[in-house]
């Protein structure tokens, strides 16, 4: 899962959002790192809808224009959780297990080849 996709799904955790709200929320959640362009957002939404991770939940007319809100589906939520667990595990290798890793390397170096 690529970073923008991850943040798009994460932005929907608190409930359905419309296009521009997703752009704003992903920006906030990523500390300004993920700045989605409109075209990129809808490409991602098309793909996530096709995969069944996201669904259309509401359609309103705002200023005479269609505004659709998208929500996370149960498969989308579990895919997001799986990705978060995978990244947390990967991060733990460095943060928690850093000492063990270093110890392991020096132990290997010390042992005769």
């Amino acid at each position: 899962m690529r970073e923008p996709t991850y943040f798009v799904l994460a932005s929907l955790l608190d409930g359905p959002l419309h296009g521009y709200a997703i752009i704003q929320r992903t920006g906030e959640l990523s500390g300004g790192r993920v700045r989605l362009a409109t075209g990129t957002l809808y490409t991602a939404l098309d793909r996530l809808t096709a995969e069944g991770y996201v669904e259309l939940v509401r359609e309103e007319i705002v200023n005479g224009r269609a505004r659709r809100s998208y929500g996370l589906t149960p498969p989308g939520a579990s895919a997001l959780r799986a990705e978060a667990t995978r990244m947390a595990d990967a991060a733990r290798l460095v943060t928690d297990g850093g000492r063990d890793l270093k110890a392991g390397r020096s132990a290997r170096k010390a042992s005769p080849a």
């Binding site: 296009g19 752009i23 075209g39 098309d46 809808t49 309103e60």
Partner: protein, 230 residues
């Protein structure tokens, strides 16, 4: 309609018509909300994302077909351009194609190679993409075949017309004898063929104008939705 709105609306034509019908309105709203207040032009990032997104929705068969057509137009346009120049003894093999700058003539040769190589794979990919089994699929497939026959005829005609200066050298392969040179003879026919290539591109875009296989994502209208007016 503000200038920004008009430009964004125009920009959304990067997407095919069937996609715009469902999405353009919503995307336009998001584009306008995401643009800084008072801006008259969409940002470079937005333009780039929309063009890439549009190409993605149109699919690689459309992309390669248009590349084929554009190469055909570029080759004939270039042939027309070189016939407006005086004829020199450097012009042999494909007559007149050794004009300066060298980079352009090398690009022209590569374009010829690429357009010939693209012909069969893209023709076949188009048939796969048009799904003959569907209702009206046969009609679209027939139109597709017709478009390619027209393209091949244009290729052949351009080949015949671009050879004509060679006849002045009395040598079918072009001017190998160095003393041959002469004034330009403009080949207006090549310009007509160039225009025909561009028209063919428009026809091909029309034939491919339906959604590609597996596209159901933007079809949000069929889903249950709660409409509310604000």
């Amino acid at each position: 309609m503000s200038p920004l709105e008009r430009r964004c609306h125009w920009l959304l034509h990067a997407y095919p018509a069937w996609y715009r019908r469902n999405r353009a309105d919503e995307m336009l709203g998001t584009l306008l909300e995401a643009s800084p207040p008072g801006s008259r032009w969409p940002s470079f990032r937005d333009v780039r994302a929309l063009v890439i997104g549009g190409l993605r929705v149109r699919g690689w068969v459309w992309w390669l077909s248009i590349l084929w057509v554009v190469l055909g137009a570029a080759i004939t346009g270039y042939t027309f351009f070189v016939t407006t120049k005086p004829f020199t003894n450097a012009d042999f093999w494909i007559p007149l194609w050794n004009t300066e700058p060298k980079v352009v003539s090398i690009a022209a040769y590569l374009s010829v190679a690429a357009s010939v190589l693209l012909t069969i794979p893209v023709l076949v990919a188009g048939f796969v993409r048009l799904r003959v089994s569907e209702p009206r699929g046969w009609l679209r497939a027939a139109a597709w075949a017709g478009a390619w026959v027209a393209g091949l005829a244009l290729m052949r005609q351009a080949g015949i017309w671009s050879e004509y200066p060679a006849t002045r050298c009395g040598n079918a392969m072009g001017c190998i004898v160095p003393q041959d040179s002469g004034p330009a003879i403009v080949s207006w026919g090549e310009l007509a063929i160039c225009a025909a290539w561009l028209a063919l591109g428009a026809v091909m875009t029309q034939i491919l104008a339906g959604p590609a296989h597996g596209w159901d994502a933007p079809d949000t209208s069929s889903r249950p939705s709660r409409k509310a007016s604000l």
